[in-house]
């Protein structure tokens, strides 16, 4: 009885199940790419798009986060108006940001370009090791770097001050160097201090970008230049630089975006040991726009205004990037 009720698998015509199987296989094939690519989209929706949209939504509200989502109050453009017309901290921090972006950013490229050319021409098999050494600061944790520099720049016990005051005892040369310890946290120095750390950190990254671009320049261009009697400097000026222009545009764009969002380095360098991070030091001279956003959110507890600062900062970055595009980008014929 039981055996009879079993489906007659062996005797049935093979056409139907086979085609069904093929269909199933095909439909899985159709779906597979989406399944494989879905982790990115899920993560992007949750951690990318949603926070983005939520922060726009938030920027039109007054919201005290600790009171829960119900406490959001629609205020329209009030937050934006406040930041633009009345928020001294925003204006000051934006000025500081631009100042440090220029002072740390411009020398980055002025050093990285010739350095990349030098590494390309002067090093043979050791080139990668040297490039690695320059690249190391970029892959090291910002927090670790900032902590190390905090001790280097320490007023009473820092190596930098020890070296500077030590040099002041050297005869003849001594008069250039200070005999007293310099307080690097003073408003006059703090932007320089932060900028120098940022410069040190990213110069290697830019060098790698430029080096990789130099390596793609066809050798025959250099050979032809050599045949025409061009010296190393002329080769750099008339062959390398023009060929690097697209990469310069790309690297400068990255620097603009990165430097205008500067946060960790000044946050730790100006904290003076405070467990809740820095606020830019004396007269907030080292406070960047991103730090101002953080303070507004987590000290003032005003997430709405902080979100509007974020979007205003985004607009500034977009504007500067656009200007950079006009200046350095490929001209359309």
């Amino acid at each position: 009885m039981q055996a009879m009720s079993e489906p007659p698998l062996t005797t049935a015509p093979p056409v139907v199940p086979a085609s069904a199987a093929r269909k199933r296989r095909r439909s899985f094939r159709d779906v597979a790419p989406y399944v494989f690519i879905s982790p990115f989209f899920i993560l992007f929706l949750v951690f990318g798009l949603f926070p983005l949209l939520f922060s726009i939504w938030m920027s039109f509200h007054r919201w005290e986060p600790a009171a829960g989502l119900e406490a959001m109050q629609w205020v329209g453009l009030e937050n934006y108006l406040y930041v633009l017309t009345n928020d001294d901290g925003f204006r000051k921090s934006l000025y500081n940001t631009v100042w440090m972006a220029v002072v740390s950013g411009v020398p980055q490229h002025l050093v990285a370009l010739p350095l990349a050319f030098f590494l390309h021409t002067a090093f043979g098999r050791w080139r990668n090791a040297v490039v690695g050494a320059y690249f190391l600061p970029f892959i090291t944790s910002t927090v670790a770097i900032s902590l190390v520099f905090t001790s280097l720049f320490s007023r009473d016990y820092g190596v930098i001050n020890a070296a500077l005051t030590g040099m002041s005892h050297v005869p003849v040369l001594g008069w250039i160097f200070p005999s007293q310890n310099i307080d690097w946290a003073q408003p006059a120095y703090i932007k320089w201090m932060v900028s120098s750390v940022v410069w040190w950190r990213y110069v290697g990254f830019n060098t790698v970008l430029y080096l990789s671009a130099i390596q793609t320049i066809p050798k025959d261009l250099f050979e032809a230049a050599t045949m025409d009697g061009a010296k190393a400097w002329q080769q750099f000026r008339y062959v390398t630089l023009p060929m690097l222009k697209p990469m310069v545009f790309f690297a400068v764009t990255l620097t603009i975006i990165g430097n205008l969002q500067l946060f960790e380095e000044p946050f730790i360098l100006t904290s003076g040991g405070s467990p809740t991070g820095g606020n830019g030091g004396i007269d907030q001279a080292g406070k960047t726009a991103a730090m101002h956003m953080y303070t507004t959110a987590f000290v003032d507890n005003d997430f709405g205004t902080a979100s509007s600062i974020a979007w205003l900062l985004f607009m500034v970055i977009a504007l500067v990037t656009w200007a950079n595009n006009r200046l350095l980008g490929e001209k359309k014929a």
Partner: protein, 424 residues
């Protein structure tokens, strides 16, 4: 055949299965474990760590899960948890600097109301600290767990060398600054790490119960007042006298200053003694002493609280645990011993442990002195915008000290900036 076999088996199995089910059910009912999540920060979390085995004896059915984040991260995480209403712990540790913001947010249970009725214990707790856990509207949202009575720690050896006595330091602020000059001249050490400390104490002294430091009850900033004026003037005088090291607390310079005998005194919560002997200056054992703050000032530094979020899962169990942490004498003393957390429970403040000499402070019975201070601290009202005002005032004081800004202008500016930033 097959079917009968099956039924036989089931028939045989039935009592067994039933029995097993009963056993399982019985076991479950015997252990109905509640998992209580506690969120805290170092080193305050040590109190919870110490409590877990003790609490297990009293309540074997409660499993305590402690999550601990660094001080700043903990309070940021709690802010976001309250904002979204998810990942909230049952018991939330809150430090006094964040209490205003959290209590007034409305996201925490009112422990003064039923079923908690926490205010009935008010008389058992150091009186200045209960109002700290209350919002302006009288919601008692955070239960005090420890307090930080202020003390003046000083280096007896350095003072002796300069011929300065303890009374010279504490008599008045003027004599404190004068003594600083002598110490500087005789030993080269700064009397205090940062002149800002003087302002911080001065603006807290002379307040009556219920008054706020930065704001009055209506939320008007009190910064442009003689109290701040004098605090700023004293800080400026100390800076001009060259007796402060211009060192921010908790920075590398700060700890190095203690290690290298460069700082002769520090005003802070009584718990600093533990930090000094553990890591700041263990080698200076026996050289430090504790005294009351200068000019008869009494102030508190720090202090920790426990709260229950409105959306917590196990509120009843959470309240039991909080009561154990804050009202159990043994537990309060345990925290006192293990992390120098001065007990908020008055009963624990009269224990024999307070009479023990502290070796690090040259055998001083300093804990008794701290109790005297704890009794005299006023109940200062907390405002959720205190951190904002503190930020603004310190920034303006920096300008006064570093850039010679006029004090009157600085205070007027600070008053305006606070008004602007809180936008009331």
């Amino acid at each position: 055949m097959k079917t009968t076999k099956e039924t036989d088996v089931t028939r045989l199995m039935k009592p067994l299965l039933l029995g097993a089910a009963l056993v399982l059910a019985g076991a479950a009912s015997a252990q109905t474990t509640t998992t209580l999540t506690v969120a805290s920060f170092p080193s305050f979390d040590l109190a919870v760590k110490a409590a877990i085995p003790l609490y297990k004896k009293l309540h074997p059915e409660v499993e305590i899960k402690l999550t601990s984040l660094a001080f700043g991260d903990h309070h940021t995480a709690m802010t976001t948890a309250l904002a979204t209403g998810s990942n909230l712990p049952d018991v939330m540790a809150v430090e006094v600097g964040f209490i205003g913001k959290f209590v007034e947010s409305g996201g925490l249970e009112d422990l003064g109301k039923a079923p908690y009725n926490g205010l009935q214990y008010q008389s058992k707790i150091a009186k200045f600290t209960v109002p700290q856990g209350m919002s302006g509207s009288g919601v008692f949202a955070a239960m005090p767990a420890d307090i930080g009575p202020g003390a003046l720690f000083y280096r007896k050896d350095l003072l002796d060398k300069a011929g300065v006595s303890e009374a010279d330091l504490t008599k008045s602020w003027e004599s404190y600054i004068e003594s600083g000059k002598k110490v500087k001249a005789a030993t080269g050490a700064y009397l205090l790490a940062n002149a800002v400390d003087i302002k911080d104490i001065y603006i807290r002294s002379g307040l009556q119960d219920g008054e706020g430091i930065f704001f009055d009850k209506k939320g008007t900033p009190l910064i442009n007042t003689p109290r701040f004026q004098k605090g700023f003037e004293l800080a400026k005088a100390a800076r001009t006298a060259g007796i402060d090291g211009k060192i921010a607390a908790w920075s590398n310079e700060w700890s190095e200053g203690f290690k290298r005998d460069k700082v002769a005194s520090q005003m802070m919560g009584a718990w600093l003694a533990g930090h000094l002997s553990n890591w700041l200056a263990p080698e200076s054992k026996g050289k430090w002493r504790s005294a009351q703050l200068p000019n008869g000032a009494y102030a508190s530094w720090g202090g920790s609280f426990y709260a229950i979020p409105k959306k917590a899962a196990n509120k009843a169990a959470a309240w039991e645990f909080i009561k154990f942490m804050t009202l159990n004498k043994e537990m309060q003393l345990e925290a006192f011993r293990s992390l120098d957390a001065f007990p908020s429970l008055i009963e624990a403040q009269s224990d024999a442990f307070l009479d023990q000499p502290i070796e690090y402070l040259g055998g001083q019975k300093a804990r008794q002195m701290w109790k005297v201070s704890a009794d005299k601290i006023k109940a200062i009202a907390v405002d959720k915008y205190d951190p904002v005002a503190n930020d603004v005032v310190n920034a303006e004081l920096d300008k006064v000290l570093e850039q010679n800004k006029d004090i009157k202008t600085a205070l007027a500016d600070a008053q305006e900036q606070v008004k602007k930033r809180v936008r009331r």
